[in-house]
């Protein structure tokens, strides 16, 4: 909250017509923290944030931290049952929410959970006697100033982010004040963030990409515009918002940008304020990326890489010349400051000379571990000593290869490497080959297990107006892939299932196909 002292009147956050100056945010989060302490919250308690993108969510985040507690963002679109799973996993007693969630909340309070208190419910909201319920304005009568919760240490947990759930049971990725602050510091350095910047936060708070908009921006004294959920569903409205807010730094998954290009008259909007476009989460199809770079020549473009467990760990600033060239995949780049990366093989031996292997990362932005999962934590890390100094590395599960120029190339997920009839196949490589065809807009490739064999399947969305059959796609693939890597089944579809963060949901694709095959 140093920025609140430097420029108290500067706007910290804006969202859908509401805004909070640094001073207002400081005062409102003080009040909330005092109210939480009054409700019996003590240091280290986990508090759920089941809220949409709105300025109150920012008050919730900083109010919880000031109370010495740990905030747990929960995707506001989850069902009552899924919310209950997260609540019980880290034993949340207090949940902060907003009135539009009432439908789900009424079901949630009927379930068996550790909940004792809801803050932000509508007037007359009914709860069982074991759960207290308050409206949001209940905390407004508290005074300002920090509550007395003792000294908060850098190593204390600050937030728990649950993995998006595309792979089995969600795991609580636990970050500390130190790892969160390190991320803010390093991202300010990497992207020259200053108090003149207006950052667009497109990600839901339950997704690690939101830490740039919620944390980095605060440390830099910049303004963050929280993109309301409605705008993420309407590219034309989103384009208008970027223009009107004079956004200087954009950060999202590629999908949001691709939709802006395909579903709006993008050249008709004045986007001259954008100085940096950062994308992450998954690869950007090179031809869409080139088209956008040509459309916005005044902006720098960067690929951001890092699993939520380390937040971010590599960066790649794309040279402007890429716009004219390329169909080459974009590197994930180099490991950023104060961090180290190694490429290892299945026997945990460090590989040199550009051999492909798993990337392991040691960075001050690294998580403390998974919440209450000693089994997982035992396998998540890798110890390695170099020049007498031992460091702890996180195993990313991502396969990479170091190019001659030192940049890392992403090859695929380790668990997306399958063996079929003795051949080793990278599903991500097949996916890249498919989406590289000019008639294909997007493709999901997945492995389906039937009773007696494994098969590669794929679902593809054709470019608008493109006429191409599955057979034609297969014959085109044969010119770029080995025959055994060409999918057995190619479905041409209108839409692909997606995870909360906008990535293609390959787990759902696999499950649905396996069920259909029986």
């Amino acid at each position: 909250m140093k920025a609140a002292e430097r420029a108290p009147e500067a706007c910290a956050f804006r969202c859908g017509g509401k805004q909070l100056s640094y001073a207002e945010l400081d005062a409102a989060s003080d009040r909330l923290s005092r109210f939480l302490v009054k409700q019996g919250v003590v240091r280290g308690d986990r508090i759920g944030v089941f809220m949409p993108r709105c300025v109150e969510t920012v008050v919730a985040v900083y109010g919880i931290l000031k109370a010495g507690a740990i905030f747990v963002p929960i995707d506001p679109n989850l069902s009552a049952g899924s919310v209950a799973t997260l609540v019980n996993d880290c034993e949340i007693k207090v949940l902060l929410t907003q009135p539009p969630r009432a439908r789900v909340l009424s079901r949630l309070v009927e379930l068996e959970t550790t909940l004792e208190c809801l803050i932000g419910t509508p007037e007359d909201f009914e709860t069982p006697s074991s759960i207290k319920s308050f409206q949001w304005h209940a905390c407004e009568s508290e005074s300002t100033g920090l509550p007395d919760v003792g000294v908060i240490n850098p190593g204390d947990p600050a937030y728990i982010m649950y993995s998006s759930g595309s792979t089995g049971t969600p795991k609580g990725i636990t970050h500390t004040h130190y790892s969160g602050l390190s991320y803010s510091r390093l991202s300010i350095e990497t992207y020259n963030v200053s108090s003149d910047d207006v950052i667009a936060n497109h990600s839901p708070i339950s997704f690690d990409m939101s830490t740039f908009g919620y944390f980095t921006s605060m440390l830099a004294g910049a303004t963050t515009v929280l993109v309301p959920e409605a705008h993420t569903k309407f590219p034309a409205s989103l384009a208008r918002l970027i223009e009107k807010e004079r956004i200087t730094i954009w950060y999202s998954v590629p999908l949001a940008l691709v939709q802006l290009m395909l579903r709006t008259e993008l050249p008709s909007f004045d986007m001259s304020s954008i100085r940096w476009v950062k994308y992450g989460g998954e690869p950007f199809a090179p031809r869409h990326l080139c088209a956008l770079m040509k459309l916005w020549p005044h902006a720098r473009f960067s690929n951001v890489y890092g699993p939520a467990e380390v937040n971010q760990c590599t960066y790649y600033h794309i040279p402007p010349s890429y716009a004219d060239g390329g169909d080459e995949p974009v590197p994930i780049g180099r490991v950023w400051n104060e961090s180290a990366g190694l490429v290892i093989n299945d026997s945990d031996e460090v590989l040199l000379n550009g051999k492909p292997g798993e990337l392991v990362i040691s960075s001050p932005t690294m998580m403390q571990g998974y919440w209450a999962r000693p089994d997982r934590n035992a396998n998540a890390f890798f110890e390695y000593a170099s020049e007498g100094v031992s460091r702890t590395y996180y195993r990313t599960g991502d396969l990479v290869q170091r190019r001659d120029d030192g940049n890392l190339m992403f090859l695929g997920r380790k668990d997306r490497q399958v063996k079929i009839r003795g051949y080793r196949i990278e599903l991500d490589e097949v996916e890249r080959a498919l989406s590289g065809l000019p008639e294909i807009e997007e493709a999901g490739v997945f492995c389906v297990s039937t009773d007696d064999e494994k098969q590669i399947h794929s679902a593809v969305i054709p470019e608008e107006g493109a006429l191409i059959t599955a057979e034609e796609i297969k014959s085109r693939l044969l010119s770029v892939l080995s025959p055994y890597a060409v999918p057995t089944v190619i479905q041409v579809v209108d839409q692909l299932p997606r995870t909360v963060s906008g990535k293609i949901d390959r787990t759902t694709l696999t499950k649905e196909t396996e069920q259909a095959i029986g």
Binding site: P52, P228, E229, A230, F234, A236, R240, R263, D494
Partner: protein, 91 residues
């Protein structure tokens, strides 16, 4: 096709309740309920809703009209569509 506004409202409500958000238990959905913030319709849902409108009423929704104010509630969709359908009917 000439669809009176009341039928338009009913047709859209039925489609959203029984098809688009069939898993959401929203049998009490009203024309003025916010479809976007209450997470009733997601981004894929918007695309399906537009496809439905185009098939059902034979009117192609131009991309510049696919904005929040035209799709916030069922009433908003009806207000947007009514003059458009009348226009395409007179062509």
């Amino acid at each position: 096709m000439n669809v009176p506004p009341r039928n338009l409202t009913t047709t859209l409500l039925e489609f959203i309740k029984n098809d688009l958000a069939a898993d959401k238990d929203i049998s009490d959905l009203r024309p003025d309920d916010d479809l976007l913030e209450g997470s009733i319709v997601d981004s894929l849902g918007i695309m399906r809703l537009i496809t439905f409108i185009e098939k059902e009423f034979g009117f192609a929704v131009p991309s510049e009209d696919v904005v929040i104010e035209n799709f916030l509630t069922v009433s908003a969709i009806v207000e947007y569509l009514t003059p458009k359908l009348a226009e395409s009917n007179n062509d």
